[in-house]
């Protein structure tokens, strides 16, 4: 009797286990580490990729990035560009719906874009949509939001007129600032439209709950036009700004994805988790800017010599454990429309040859050993890695030129405030992460008209003219060639010394399927699934 009971129990337990693990019943949940707490879920106020990952799961723009980081149709099924390159006509999907079941209309996009440019909204990334006709004037309050170059031709047709041909416009539309909001929801709820229980979204997922600094849960949106192909039922985002804590939670199998961890962990993690460790080159450049307004950095020979004397391989391998790549161009590799960037001419030399040449150049300029003394101050924003880079570079300049190098660091806000407000310096660290996958996004930083980003106040009319030409060129190949010429000039003059092309570090658990590394760092949960 007793043994029979035992068997019965065993059968029950076994049955329960089988039922519990049956794929038809198990909920597919992706536990997604996010590098911090989103500052906002409002497309008008978003500025960082922590928000981008969430927003792009919730909403779908006219264009989107696929799993490989390529632009594909999103809410718009097709589009046409007029011959003059100035007017785009987008046809929305007939079955595109909001999560409350109402249709996504052209008017929703018109409303969303006008809201971003309305100065009263104070959108952080309003400039992303500046290529649209009158956008800048609207944003400055010189014109009304209704004057923006976007129109609803009918319920499902959006017409966008541009200020000038913009070859990378489809990339801009895939930015999270260009995600639509439901006009009806905003008119009803105002800025509360971002809250769980209120938010209406048109992407593959919808917002369920949000506990700041603990988790944000989204679940599959049954109204999404492609819901049949969305494999995950739920995605839980964990906002963790402490990289070590993220790694620990991955190791405790509490999270499937971790974005960005400390580079000095790469070797250990590779040993323990093998190919779950992803080092994916990204569209970001780590560089030093020279203040070209003052001696000796106004002398191109000094700038070139200093740049050449930096052993980038050492920085990449020793400081970043191979998680960054030596850079000799402002534009990082990996931009499809641009191909190989135009590198500095000394990229092909060995480091020893570079140092010889650098010493010669410096002597010619009359500085360093036997010349005027070189007192260099490197400014950087407080961060252990930046400090190690600055220390290494200081050492290289000391050894090559006998320079006296001092280091100054300020926290991020103060560092950039100083540079943006035109503060004088010698050499300053800066970084740039692409807003959109186009070379222009990197090269425009050094336009003489760029008062904010051109920290070193580089002024070269020839460079400016080439950039201007590139904006007018509509043929992609010809445009790419012009941009290469511009970059070659920039690399010849070295107002900035690119040091490293950055990589995104991801931990991707073995249970995640459909993951593809890509330079645009685009990973919509829609394309992912999990296996048990």
């Amino acid at each position: 009797m007793a043994s029979r009971l035992l068997n019965l129990r065993a059968a029950l337990v076994l049955g329960a286990v089988l039922l519990g693990s049956s794929p038809a019943l198990a909920e597919a949940v992706l536990h997604r580490g996010n590098a911090g707490e989103p500052q906002t879920l409002d497309q008008a106020h978003t500025s960082i990729n922590i928000e981008e990952f969430i927003l792009k799961d919730l909403y779908e723009g006219l264009t989107i990035y696929d799993a490989a980081g390529k632009i594909i149709p999103g809410a718009a099924e097709t589009w046409d560009l007029s011959d003059d390159g100035l007017t785009y006509t987008f046809k929305l999907r007939s079955d595109a719906k909001w999560s409350d079941g109402s249709p996504v209309t052209a008017e929703d996009f018109v409303f969303s874009f006008q809201r971003v440019e309305d100065p009263a909204t104070a959108a952080g990334y309003a400039n992303i949509l500046y290529p649209i006709k009158n956008a800048e004037k609207v944003n400055k309050g010189e014109m009304k939001p209704e004057d923006l170059g976007i129109k609803a031709i009918d319920d499902k047709t959006v017409e966008i007129t541009l200020e000038r041909p913009t070859p990378f416009f489809l990339e801009l539309l895939a930015h999270q600032t260009a995600l639509p909001i439901s006009k009806a929801s905003f008119e009803k709820n105002g800025t509360e439209f971002v809250k769980p229980g209120v938010m209406v979204s048109n992407g593959a997922f919808k917002l369920v709950s949000h506990v700041p600094n603990d988790n944000l849960v989204v679940e599959k949106n049954p109204s999404y036009w492609d819901a049949a192909n969305v494999k995950l039922d739920k995605v839980v985002f964990y906002p963790i700004d402490d990289q070590a804590a993220s790694v620990r939670r991955f190791e405790a199998k509490e999270m499937d994805l971790v974005y960005n961890f400390s580079a000095d962990q790469i070797d250990r993690l590779r040993g323990a988790y093998g190919d779950q460790v992803h080092v994916s080159p990204t569209l970001a450049t780590y560089y030093y800017a020279f203040d070209t307004r003052q001696e000796p950095y106004s002398d191109v020979r000094v700038r070139r010599a200093l740049s050449m004397a930096v052993d980038r391989d050492f920085l990449a391998k020793e400081i970043y454990s191979g998680s960054q790549i030596p850079a000799y161009s402002m534009v990082p590799p990996g931009i499809e429309t641009y191909g190989d960037p135009a590198k500095a001419d000394f990229a092909t030399l060995s480091q020893l040859d570079r140092e010889d040449k650098a010493t010669e150049l410096m002597k010619e300029a009359g500085y360093g050993q036997g010349g005027k003394p070189l007192d260099i101050e490197i400014r950087y924003n407080t961060n252990p890695n930046h400090e190690r880079v600055a220390t290494a570079v200081a050492d290289m300049w000391k050894n090559t030129f006998g320079a006296k190098v001092s280091l100054v660091n300020l926290d991020v806000s103060s560092h950039y405030a100083y540079l943006q407000e035109g503060g004088k310096f010698n050499v300053a660290r800066a970084g740039w992460v692409a807003d959109y996958a186009d070379a222009e996004n990197f090269l425009a930083l050094n336009l003489s008209s760029n008062k904010t980003f051109n920290y070193g106040h580089y002024e070269n009319p020839e460079f400016d003219a080439l950039m201007k030409k590139s904006y007018e060129e509509t043929d992609p190949a010809a445009r790419s060639k012009i941009l290469h010429e511009a970059e070659a000039l920039l690399m010849r003059d070295q107002p900035i010394a690119p040091l490293l092309a950055q990589a995104d570090l991801w931990l991707v658990s073995g249970r995640v399927q459909g993951w593809q590394d890509n330079a645009a760092n685009q990973h919509l949960s829609r394309f992912l699934s999990v296996s048990e």
């Binding site: 707490e37 500052q39 906002t40 879920l41 409002d42 106020h45 500025s47 100065p119 009263a120 909204t121 104070a122 959108a123 952080g124 990334y125 309003a126 400039n127 800048e136 944003n139 400055k140 800025t191 971002v194 809250k195 506990v211 700041p212 600094n213 603990d214 988790n215 964990y238 906002p239 963790i240 700004d241 402490d242 070590a244 804590a245 620990r248 939670r249 190791e251 405790a252 509490e254 924003n381 300020l410 926290d411 991020v412 806000s413 103060s414 560092h415 950039y416 405030a417 100083y418 540079l419 943006q420 970084g431 740039w432 992460v433 008062k451 904010t452 980003f453």
Partner: protein
């Protein structure tokens, strides 16, 4: 009663002074909430400054802030833009307080118990081990204790979660609670041991013993009362600190409390958020000091409030 009212009335100017000093001190820090690693274009910056009234003269911003704060409006967070400061603190505080309360209980009960035992067995092996533990508790920072606990109990043994609040059940709270309580437990243990040794040598204890009262009664009802005075005075700052959350422990264990806001707010130059946390901590300190003063009156016959 009038003592409590008087103390509460004097808290208002204290709070006002704290708020004023913090408001202006913070503005001395270079940069602002919108100076990011990626600089904003001038037009965007202008729109933001206008929207958040940061383009106004500082004195006017101050007057506006005080005017709003009095009515309970602590402004929007400049960084976490979907939320007001009151919402952020309102959401986070229950987590910090719950965790802090458990940690406080653990520290207080554990510390007093260990301290008493050590005092009663002064200079024994037990005393030495308790005191070494207390020394370790004070000297090893919780940014070391926290990760070590996780490595052992979450990653190696897979017994407890590595972080997060989860469903708020005890297993999520055990590790952060220990990390949070340990340094305070050590302080309580040392304080109790010291004052207990002193109390045991006091005249009235000798008298009690001479009357032949049992040892337990002497310790618990007579010595303990005097020995607890320093513990009670330490309770106020300790409770205020634990209940308002620890930036370090909350970060290590990814707890959604308010402790991190003070540090994050300062780094991000999120002026209103910093002000909100300053006010919060100030209120806790003021209230707990008051509570302790009242407790003191009950414990120490020499102190009487009227």
């Amino acid at each position: 009663m009038s003592f409590v009212l008087r103390r509460l009335a004097s808290a208002v100017p204290t709070l006002f002074i704290v708020v004023t000093i913090s408001f202006f001190l913070m503005r001395f820090a270079p940069g602002g909430p919108f100076n990011l690693e990626r600089p904003l274009p001038p037009q965007t910056m202008a729109n933001l400054m206008r929207t958040y009234q940061l383009d106004q003269p500082l004195w006017r911003q101050y007057v506006t802030y005080i005017g709003n704060a009095v009515t309970g409006d602590f402004g929007p967070s400049y960084v976490y833009k979907d939320n007001t400061v009151a919402e952020l603190i309102g959401k986070g505080l229950p987590y910090s307080m719950e965790l802090g309360f458990y940690a406080l209980l653990l520290a207080l009960i554990g510390g007093v118990l260990m301290g008493t035992v050590a005092a009663l067995r002064q200079n024994s092996a037990l005393d030495f081990s308790v005191m070494s533990l207390a020394t370790i508790g004070t000297t090893v920072p919780n940014f070391v204790v926290g990760p070590v606990l996780t490595l052992v109990f979450a990653i190696s043994l897979s017994l407890l979660p590595a972080g997060g609040w989860g469903d708020g059940s005890l297993r999520f709270l055990i590790l952060p609670m220990i990390a949070l309580a340990l340094p305070q437990l050590a302080v309580f243990a040392r304080l109790t041991r010291g004052s207990m040794i002193e109390a045991l040598h006091a005249d009235h204890i000798r008298t009690a013993r001479a009357y032949g009262l049992p040892g337990r009664v002497v310790v618990v009802t007579h010595a303990m009362r005097g020995a607890l005075l320093p513990v009670v005075s330490y309770l106020a700052p300790c409770a205020a600190a634990l209940l308002t959350g620890s930036a370090v422990v909350e970060t290590i264990f990814t707890i959604p409390g308010v402790g991190r806001y003070f540090v994050l707010g300062a780094i991000n130059r999120d002026y209103t958020l910093v002000m909100g946390t300053v006010i919060l901590i100030a209120i806790f300190v003021i209230v707990f000091n008051l509570v302790v003063d009242i407790l003191y009156g009950l414990l120490d016959p020499r102190v009487r409030h009227d």
